[in-house]
Subunit: 192 residues, 2 copies
């Protein structure tokens, strides 16, 4: 990330897949739905910024939590680590779109599927603090966004196996029956 | 509203206060925080559209429900009426911003204040089907939106008193302690 000091508090981030960037794409795997064009590099820029010459750009905004309770939020906050750790030279960008059925559910129905049935928060907690993450929302940026969420992960190379195990558990959950599009983009950067 | 047929499913609406429009502004009252410049007319256009020459424009997007349960949603759906009823020649646009404390609360804390303490949904139900409404979210359209929500109401002239009573009950609630900016813009349109 290259935020200039006056942009560092912005909530809006643009992920640019292209021919240059801080992160080199190791592989880009279509889990569900339409593919994205293949990019060699990934850069994350604070919006507004002029995106570099890109194969694709995806925008997302950080926001308030939608499902976590006071206690869950407190545990997350006490356990998780921030982005940009020197050891975290592996990363993953996972854009996800959920289907119409999901968005028509009421808040309590979504919460029940998300946590009581799928244990989304609990599964994430099992991999803290090794896996750092930042969730970006896209669905309410505008009516035509290609994805609903962009989740960005950072971890040390030795935790890639644990990261894969976490994704396997989430993808086997009831919540994932509502995922209509998902791309798994793995990246790495040179050790400083 | 002037949606062309191919835009009618868009979730993004722009409210334009200016010198022309379908709705004539009757009064514009600052309930809390910074005022908006005074406009004589209000128009509601489906985005993307070229806004008319405006004094201000406010954008909002309809989205999934954030707090209502399955049962509450079912009652709302069965009771509420749509916009654009011929008798509903009075309207109100109420842009609201909530403070940082609100957005730092967890989902269960916000739900508790919203409904268990403030009875927001129940109060709204008391005025159905007379008062029709559409809620638009702004906060996640971008990092610099002036408001978090735009609520648009339509009702017949004889229900203006009930509408005022509803607002008074909401503004006396615990939830409203978190409202840092609110403008109450009342409009009317000619009877067809």
């Amino acid at each position: 990330m290259n935020p200039s000091p006056d942009q560092s508090s912005s909530r809006l981030f643009t992920f640019c897949g292209g021919h240059q960037g801080r992160w080199r794409v190791q592989h880009q795997h279509v889990v569900a739905g339409e593919p994205l064009p293949v990019a060699s590099f990934l850069d994350i820029v604070v919006h507004p910024a002029t995106p570099p010459d890109s194969v694709w750009t995806l925008r997302g905004i950080t926001s308030n939590e939608r499902y976590s309770t006071h206690d869950e939020k407190a545990v997350l906050k006490a356990t998780q680590e921030g982005l940009d750790r020197p050891v975290a030279v592996h990363g993953a960008l996972i854009p996800i779109k959920k289907n119409r059925d999901w968005w028509l559910l009421s808040q309590d129905e979504r919460r029940k599927i998300f946590e009581e049935q799928s244990h989304h928060i609990q599964i994430g907690l099992d991999y803290l603090p090794a896996i750092a993450r930042r969730l970006h929302h896209c669905r309410d940026l505008g009516p035509d966004e290609p994805f609903d969420f962009l989740t960005w992960f950072e971890f040390a190379p030795e935790h890639e196996g644990a990261f894969n195990a976490m994704l396997a558990r989430l993808r086997a959950s009831v919540e994932w029956r509502y995922v209509s599009r998902e791309i798994d983009i793995r990246v790495s950067r040179p050790t400083v």
